[in-house]
């Protein structure tokens, strides 16, 4: 009975998948690097989890809500963070704040397009992404892009073998879960995703909630940009390019409904670990980029196909 209940939870499958891939990778590397694999994978998973959380809130708003401006946002935020920090350890906090602020503004801009001009979110965030890319190209020319040494070290720090970034991210997602289930804001997001009209009629602040969600997603993207610049020792326009697809993938594989109204926070972790470990395992096999792409795609398709979609309601 407990096994059935475990598998009934949507996020269980993603953790199971992550576990399987980790075992496979450990076996292939002759068991020597099992612990090291996890430790190396965790920070990468963290970056995905942070933006995945933001994307999860947006997707839960209902069908058609998605933030395609994340990669451009991350790229710009990384440049902003590095510029403000200016290789100066005392400016780290200011740099992170600036990056978050930059992402927050992107989120606001997205929502203004959606609300004022009534443009569908997919198109609005896509268009915004083009504009942000241009801003980043223009802004980032010839500017200081290296992180301050203290900040760079911080992104590598570990406690008892667990990266500090991961600990931080766990707290972040736990906080997000509480917000989702127990605050007015989180309940409103869920309600909007299930029935936007009814949410409006029930007196819920639909407009403000959507606004806050896009701003939140943007802010998390900004944070990710700063952290990525620290971890990878530099900012650049494309630093976030793979996070569009992975942010959506972890949300869906983790059990959040793409139709909206049903979000799943633990699943984001499981799915992020799964995807990162998968890439690691394929790297160990020494496969070419094409095979890796093909394999990643097939696994995503298979996982989603097996997990199935939302049961039709009567």
């Amino acid at each position: 009975m407990t096994a059935n209940k475990f598998f009934a939870k949507p996020w269980a499958w993603s953790f199971l998948g992550a576990l399987l891939v980790w075992v496979a990778a450990a076996v292939v590397s002759r068991g020597t690097g099992a612990g090291a694999i996890i430790t190396a994978a965790l920070p990468l998973a963290v970056f995905t989890v942070i933006v995945g959380t933001g994307q999860m809130f947006v997707i839960t708003l209902g069908p058609g809500n998605i933030d395609l401006s994340l990669p451009a946002n991350i790229g710009l935020a990384s440049a902003v963070a590095m510029t403000v920090m200016n290789s100066n350890d005392s400016m780290v906090a200011a740099g992170i704040a600036a990056a978050i602020g930059c992402g927050f503004s992107v989120g606001i801009a997205n929502y203004l397009l959606i609300w004022v001009l009534r443009i569908p979110p997919i198109i609005a965030t896509l268009s915004a992404s083009f504009i942000i890319q241009s801003i980043d190209l223009d802004f980032g020319r010839g500017l200081q892009t290296k992180p301050p040494p203290g900040f760079a070290n911080f992104t590598d720090m570990q406690i008892l073998g667990i990266p500090l970034l991961a600990v931080f991210a766990i707290f972040l997602t736990a906080f997000a879960a509480v917000v989702l289930r127990r605050t007015l804001y989180g309940r409103t997001v869920t309600a909007i995703g299930q029935n936007g009209r009814a949410a409006r009629f029930a007196g819920l602040p639909v407009g403000w909630t959507r606004f806050g969600t896009y701003a939140l997603c943007g802010a998390l993207g900004g944070l990710d940009g700063a952290l990525l610049a620290g971890y990878f020792r530099g900012a650049n326009v494309d630093i976030g390019s793979e996070y569009l697809l992975t942010s959506i993938a972890v949300v869906v594989i983790g059990g959040t409904s793409v139709a909206g109204g049903r979000a799943n926070v633990p699943g984001i972790w499981g799915a992020a670990l799964f995807l990162v470990l998968l890439t690691t395992m394929l790297n160990i096999f020494g496969t070419s980029a094409a095979i890796r792409l093909l394999f990643t795609g097939l696994i995503i398709v298979a996982v989603i196909a097996v997990a199935g979609g939302r049961k039709a309601t009567p």
Binding site: I122, S127, F130, I131, F295, I304
Partner: protein, 325 residues
């Protein structure tokens, strides 16, 4: 107590057919706007030669947009059409040239894969956004496997066909007209086309009436696959060589084209003619218009976004009076 009529008799509400007319005219108006802008900036562009050049890539974009339209008619979204178009193009410059029968078989296999995907989506009730996302990786990987580096040469017959220069009207415009007419006829005028669209509007009702929703979904995706393949072939015929990454931007262009053409994400409300018009508008707005406006390269990317916003905002402003969603 009966109040005497105090207010003057209200004018009769706008007849419903007028609203429909406005809805269908908007894509055309968007296109007209872009054409006017081009004409104002560079009058010489309004000529046979000018259109031939500007609408160079219009045909593959329009074909990809129609493919996306079929998927959106069923309430789904295809995030993999771009890489798929690229993959079809890669097959064209390799197998189709060197071993035509095998190449044709592969392309037919691709269409079947799309159809099978549609079936899978229906049977397992899967979210199309996520699954087509995964498929985009697959098509991308396959494309790189088939053609690791850009190059190759498209079959001669394909190049000649795409290079036809009819008198008076450029090939791309003629091709677009034929495409719009065929898609319109197939989806809007045939009896089964009504079923395909109806399944997007009220699937439960259509199923209760005895139709197989599975067949509907498979048909829509098969059509998407077909037009995706045609788009890849057309693209390769024009550029004459292959590139695994060349189609990647087509996914979002295609979605934008359908939306610009009056289509919606849910409810089975799409317009084939609108989709083709939307595709042409985007083809014009994304490059020729920018060149005429002398936009620096760093900002050309932004211009794509800005133009999209302007066109959609205009549409939103005009349809404000329409029925609430």
């Amino acid at each position: 107590m009966i109040a005497p009529p105090t207010a003057p008799l209200r004018a009769p509400a706008m007849p419903r057919f007028d609203l429909r007319l406005v809805r269908t005219m908007l894509p055309g108006l968007s296109l007209a706007l872009v054409l006017l802008a081009i004409a104002w900036l560079n009058p010489r562009a309004i000529s046979y030669f000018g259109f031939d050049l500007m609408l160079n890539l219009a045909v593959p974009i329009a074909l990809a947009t129609v493919a996306q339209m079929f998927v959106m008619a069923g309430g789904d979204l295809d995030l993999s059409i771009g890489p798929f178009v690229g993959f079809a193009g890669c097959i064209a410059v390799t197998w189709l040239r060197d071993a035509p029968l095998l190449g044709i078989a592969m392309l037919l296999g691709c269409i079947s894969a799309y159809a099978a995907l549609g079936g899978l989506i229906y049977l397992r009730n899967l979210p199309s956004v996520a699954i087509t996302l995964g498929m985009s990786f697959v098509w991308q990987g396959l494309a790189i496997l088939v053609l690791p580096k850009p190059g190759g040469s498209a079959p001669d017959w394909l190049q000649s066909f795409m290079g036809i220069k009819p008198p008076f009207v450029p090939f791309s415009i003629l091709a677009a007209i034929v495409l719009a007419a065929a898609a319109h006829f197939g989806l809007m005028r045939t009896s089964y086309g009504a079923i395909l669209r109806g399944a997007g509007g009220n699937p439960v009702a259509v199923a209760r009436a005895g139709w197989s929703l599975l067949k509907v979904k498979i048909s829509l995706f098969a059509l998407a696959g077909l037009f995706g393949v045609l788009s890849g072939l057309a693209l390769t015929g024009i550029t004459t060589s292959g590139d695994a990454n060349i189609g990647n931007g087509y996914t979002l262009l295609a979605i934008a084209g359908v939306i610009l053409g009056g289509g919606e994400f849910v409810g089975g409300r799409v317009s084939p003619i609108g989709a083709v018009l939307g595709a042409i508008t985007l083809a014009l707005a994304s490059s020729p218009l920018l060149t005429f406006m002398h936009i620096p390269p760093d900002w050309q990317i932004a211009s794509n976004g800005i133009i999209l916003i302007i066109v959609l905002a205009t549409r939103a402003a005009v349809t404000r009076k329409g029925p609430l969603q």
